[in-house]
Symmetry: C2
Subunit: 491 residues, 2 copies
Amino acid sequence: MSSDKFSSARAYPARRVARWDEETDVVIVGFGAAGASSAIEAAAAGAKVTLFEVGAGSGGASALSGGEIYLGGGGGTPIQIQNGFTDDTESLYTYLKMAGGPDADLAKVRLYADNSLAHYHWLVEQGVVYKGTHIPTKIIEPETDDTLIWCGSEEAWPFSEAARPAPRGHVIQWTGWGGGRKLMDVLEARVRKLGVDVRANTRVLCLVADEDGAVQGVAIRDNGAEKFIRARKGVILCTGGFCMNRDMMQRYAPNALVSNDPIGVVDDGSGIVMGQSVGGDAIHMDQFFTTCPWYPPESLVKGIMVNIHGQRFINEDCYHGRVSAYIAKQPRSKAYLLLDNDIFGRPMEFSRVDVAATGETWAEVESELGMTAGTLTATVEVFSREAAKGHDPLFRKAAKWLKPLTKGPFAALEMDMSTSFFSYFTLGGLNTLPTGEVLARDGKTVPGLYAAGRATAGLPRWGEGYSSGMSLADCTFFGRMAGKTAGAKLS
Amino acid sequence: MSSDKFSSARAYPARRVARWDEETDVVIVGFGAAGASSAIEAAAAGAKVTLFEVGAGSGGASALSGGEIYLGGGGGTPIQIQNGFTDDTESLYTYLKMAGGPDADLAKVRLYADNSLAHYHWLVEQGVVYKGTHIPTKIIEPETDDTLIWCGSEEAWPFSEAARPAPRGHVIQWTGWGGGRKLMDVLEARVRKLGVDVRANTRVLCLVADEDGAVQGVAIRDNGAEKFIRARKGVILCTGGFCMNRDMMQRYAPNALVSNDPIGVVDDGSGIVMGQSVGGDAIHMDQFFTTCPWYPPESLVKGIMVNIHGQRFINEDCYHGRVSAYIAKQPRSKAYLLLDNDIFGRPMEFSRVDVAATGETWAEVESELGMTAGTLTATVEVFSREAAKGHDPLFRKAAKWLKPLTKGPFAALEMDMSTSFFSYFTLGGLNTLPTGEVLARDGKTVPGLYAAGRATAGLPRWGEGYSSGMSLADCTFFGRMAGKTAGAKLS
């Protein structure tokens, strides 16, 4: 059979499959954190599981991450508690609801908030080791092997007003950045121990579906040969987002393309397209996470951010990604971080955030940036006057980060989405039930089809609300849900 | 056969159609401007055309419009020329390209710019009467029966810098607002004269497609009976957008739901969903047009717009819809229009834009609005100082609209997307070729399927770029293209 018979955009008609080359219970597509977690639960449910990965091994975008998972609620995880924090389920629920934006998936938020603590224990049972220590300062990821970090906007307005803050970023023990690779190694070991049949270097070409759109299996390319694999219980798409597919980015999320720093490995959107080919509904496809790591050093958070017109636009103590999402929406997707001599510092080299102007007075900085007289200076004047009184009436930055910017010399760091490091990945994807079942556009489920991770619109689905660890929380937890549901299905 | 056999989200398998109840060449779904224009061209090409409309008669959202069409280029339409304007094709091309945003459809923009003048003549041939007169002031629609108006941001930065401005809004002769109904009457007369079989009160339930996704016809409900209609040459979806479908709005364009003023009649998205059911790609589903008619009186354009922080955010001489799109993105989707006594006026009653604060000084207005001292006042001070010199260095409002706001008393009008009249409709839809052929997600066309108007992502596909008359231009011109292509197809 010729290769152009297959397109991820078109399901292959089951009627035309003369013979299934192989049969299994559950087919999983993609070996990132979602695929691994699905595989573990499906296998634990007694299903025969076959996992196809187009790359050479496990990992995906999960292995590029910090290996941090957003966990809490239920009074607090053992690690929150041993570091003196408590965390209630309703605060976690409220935070995740706000983070989900104008179309938060309340069913998923509810289920996750209620079960996040149990999910912590599950991770530990799989072999994830947490050192148990806490880093109190604002950072991106630990450079050490510490565990618990503030990884969202919990202490920042408006979240702080609605939900009691707690640090919820749980980082796997691993020295330095990149704990995601370690996390994947742990999950992979479990996957293999449970006897999952892992096929690397194998591309799933398309779904195979019957005339009613029920998924029966997949067509794959295996060592150059095309084969049909029957999935008696179902197919779980864990293929990630589409940030590496420039054509899809252009059609669905063109605003992200101001940056040239996608974070992904495969992330070609093929799973989303396969899901759509059998009627699966893809939602919020315009949404993306982006961040420029503009802190540490933490002192920079005491600076203020202005756009090219010298206007502030956010409380700068929000999570770096939330601030970056706002920068992305400013004119020319650009901002300046204003610092006085007390708090001056430089972000990490790789952020490509450099000094754009300096001056003995703010008027000099304003002028050097080419701004109109009375713009930036008025902004700084109002901010410093109010900060001296301990508040920020415009953007409600928390008191601990407020400091009048009056100690010259002064500087402006430039953050430009087109030249600084603004990494991004996509948040839109297939609409699923908390069970992992893929929803069609009429609200019915697509028989035999499941999805998890960034192939779906999950807990994270709104760029302004993303927090570190939220995607891995979603991948692992709802990956498990999909694996359980499919694994337990009567075939 | 039972009704739940049919869902717009699922194509009905052609194999299961025991007998076609009727056969025609071209089926058109929807009798707005796109459907009417498609029908005219398909019939003119010699095809047997059957048009289904779920409502009682022609109209759709087109009949709710002003009946204004965005036309120009080629040296100028006769009406542009008789009013002393010329208009070159490249300026029209550039304007439409900019108006299309970060994923403008350059093939459609090119074709339309090159053929807009010919399209003017076609409209006149159909019986559209233009009085030929010009209204030079900034308005929404003529209250008279005049023709040519400025209906976009042509004279405003950044458009004015890139493309030579010309007024391009051509309004059908009709006294008062609502010329869209008159336009539909004219088009309907042509449709009927050409012998198109028009079936009102008839819902198209779903597409009928073969196993390869090629569209063969439709299933309809006609007087309670369900029937299969074969379309030998193809089906053209002209069903409009989805602004009246709250569930779709929530999943794809939740930001519009801040307002409660959709402009639509049916606009339930069923055509988009039907197109997707056979692999059609829906793009830019998050984009919507919104406008609050905050002028006339024209003097209001000399005011400045600030957000709740007292910050300006746009050159206020842009098209009202572009300004409104920016308001929608401000904190709390809210803005204030600042006026001094020289230019004070009230927008039309139905805009629900009222006075929020007044004062003898701007400091009083600032305080009455609950803004922090030194915010609004600094904005006004910078603006007035620069306006007195004849420029607007921040937002580049054109000199003719610049006036220092120094003549007290002063007022602020409140524009709030959740309480003022912010009408909206959707701009995302099926991805089509300029021929009207629907594109699948792999870039191939869907055999037998065409679409036009707001069921597609057309010339207008970016909220910030919309101009009045652009959707009717797209509906009529690309409706024609779809009708020509389908009508000429060998069946």
